[in-house]
């Protein structure tokens, strides 16, 4: 094993800072790993080795001048829903297979200013719609822990690539669990920031009131470092909140004595796998051992309605957002007709895959005349109730902890023919997006040899509490040190 394999961001930063290794060496080593591992995990839609080497050379020049930030010169991977100037951004859709953005997303600007090295663009469920990565129009990404299983979705490529050690961190996007679910399935830390914390400028829109960009990494510290780099106000996103985005690593002291943690019973859903339940209960006991005051009798009674609320609101917003794909300005166009309406319908028939069409249909229905009040407006009102329950809970507790998912990574193909079963995978993560609060998934053990995630939620803009609790747990356990045999 190479000494540069499976480093954390923090470790690599130390090596670069002490000039024990150059970014060029580090990047070359990880390009080799990508070449070796990609045939197994299939995490990347586009590899950007050439760009990575140029960025590494620039990082080395910076470091030589003594100008080094936590991510300078460190290889990362970007979900292919985030616009990268001059590098195709496909959303794993035939619709955008050849789309080359004319500008960078805000998070890319921030990462580039910090000296990023981009290894590639990660595969995903088409337009971020899915929980398994099997909805990619190109190929399914595999779970490095067992390549017959899914990595979770929709940011499956972002998770699988870091779990396999193709890069040290990655960015994903989370609309209903798309960062936390794959983090849980792949033994990574994954953060869904507070709505408004990270600019959505240049993030291809799925459901605009729910979408947030966030990081994946192997440790809580690394996750906090990436988050510190991408968080912050941006006037180009009118839902970006102008609130101080300070250094998120100062809270990592391992001391959670006296912190009040609630466990909402509704998240231990019927049909939850016993091995997952056991691991999560053990993790909660560990937090108690570490001095947290745990209340296991919390109730958030409207939790069971979150699934219906989400699958009305997200497809409704998606049906509006995806109206832009009409074969006129960019993207795929159906070539064999001169009739405008036929071109538009055929463009969308062949450009979109089945899940995207299903959600556009669902959203169009929920917004259509005669059904708007019964579905869309009703869901928005229940959304208010869910938000109020969370606000009430955070008056009493510093954080809530739950399972990230009711199951371990499932077999490829297992849920593909039953959309409702697939949607149920996200039952523990959806409420967080509905309420706009931050949540993190951290490695919390194994069941049947596959990783299990613990989800921690906090009040809006209190990501520090997530890092603090996550870090204390991580220091007291070694789950995050387990690596898949493949890596």
């Amino acid at each position: 094993m190479n000494q540069l394999d499976n480093l954390t961001v923090a470790q690599a930063h130390q090596l670069l800072k002490k000039r024990e290794v150059s970014s060029t060496d580090l990047t070359s080593a990880y390009i080799e790993r990508v070449e070796k591992l990609e045939s197994h995990v299939q995490a990347l839609v586009t590899r950007t080795a050439e760009v990575a080497m140029q960025q590494a050379a620039r990082a080395d020049e910076r470091i030589a001048r003594g100008d080094i930030q936590p991510l300078t010169g460190i290889p990362g991977i970007i979900k292919d829903v985030i616009c990268t100037k001059g590098i195709r951004t496909t959303c794993s859709s035939k619709m955008l297979e050849n789309f080359i953005p004319p500008y960078n997303a805000a998070v890319i600007e921030r990462l580039q200013a910090a000296g990023m090295v981009m290894m590639g663009k990660a595969n995903m469920d088409e337009f971020a719609m899915g929980s398994s990565n099997e909805n990619s129009a190109f190929f399914p990404t595999r779970n490095p822990w067992d390549i017959t299983r899914v990595p979770g979705g929709s940011s499956g490529g972002s998770a699988a690539s870091v779990a396999a050690g193709e890069a040290l961190y990655s960015l994903g996007s989370d609309t209903g669990g798309s960062i936390r679910l794959p983090a849980s399935f792949c033994n990574l830390v994954g953060l869904k920031p507070t709505y408004g914390r990270v600019s959505r400028y240049g993030l291809v829109a799925f459901a605009s009131s729910l979408d947030q960009i966030g990081p994946f990494a192997r440790t809580v510290t690394d996750t906090a470092l990436v988050f510190s780099t991408i968080a912050g106000y941006d006037e180009r996103d009118s839902t970006s909140v102008n609130i101080e985005a300070d250094n998120f690593t100062s809270c990592l002291d391992g001391d959670i004595r006296g912190m009040k943690i609630g466990v909402p019973g509704e998240y231990f859903v019927e049909g939850m796998q016993p091995g997952v339940k056991k691991a999560v209960e053990d993790a909660i006991n560990k937090l108690e051992e570490l001095g947290a005051v745990v209340d296991r009798s919390v109730s958030l009674p409207s939790t069971p309605y979150a699934l219906a609320v989400y699958y009305i609101l997200a497809p409704s917003e998606a049906s509006a957002n995806l109206a832009r794909y009409d074969g006129v300005k960019y993207g795929y166009v159906y070539p064999d007709s001169e009739n405008m309406w036929e071109v538009m319908e055929k463009t969308r028939e062949f450009g979109f895959g089945p899940e995207v069409k299903r959600r556009i249909m669902l959203g169009t229905y929920a917004l259509s005349a005669g059904y708007y009040d019964a579905y869309y407006l009703k869901a928005q009102k229940v959304r208010t109730i869910i938000c109020r329950e969370f606000s009430g809970a955070f008056e009493k507790y510093d954080a809530l902890v739950t399972p990230t998912a009711p199951c371990i990574a499932f077999k490829m193909g297992e849920k593909l023919d039953d959309p409702l079963q697939m949607y149920l995978t996200d039952v523990c993560t959806l409420p967080v997006n509905i309420a706009g609060i931050p949540a993190i998934s951290i490695p919390a053990g194994f069941s049947e040899g596959m990783p299990v995630g613990l989800q921690i939620m906090a009040k809006p803009f209190d990501e520090k509490t997530l890092f603090k609790i996550g870090y204390a747990y991580e220091q007291a356990t070694d789950w995050h040190k387990h690596m898949p045999a493949l890596a």
């Binding site: 405008m340 028939e349 259509s368 109730i385 409702l420």
Partner: protein, 96 residues
């Protein structure tokens, strides 16, 4: 709520999404199942509850009307499927 074939075709038309014969049948069953699941929301009393459109309760953000450079024309047109000089070329909108 059951969606029949005609309703599926009506929604597809509203969304301007073409569907294959197979998709019409599959969507009719799958969308009916999903909509049936949504009926749980009828159990919850929302009288007097205002809707939430987005969670961080921001007021409408108003920006100053500043004149500044935008995308270069060539960059903006670079991804257009069909072009005629500096125009995007589309199929006729008005029929003869």
């Amino acid at each position: 709520m059951k969606l029949n074939r005609e309703e599926v075709l009506h929604i597809a038309r509203l969304a301007r999404v073409g569907l294959t014969e197979d998709e019409i049948d599959t969507f009719s069953i799958q969308l009916s199942n999903i909509l049936e699941n949504f009926e749980v929301l009828n159990q919850i009393d929302t009288a007097g509850i205002p809707p939430t459109a987005q969670p961080n309760m921001l007021n409408t953000v108003i920006k100053d009307d500043l004149v500044k450079p935008s995308l270069e024309r060539e960059d903006a047109l670079a991804n257009a499927p069909s072009r005629d000089g500096e125009f995007i070329k589309i199929r006729p909108v008005l029929e003869k």
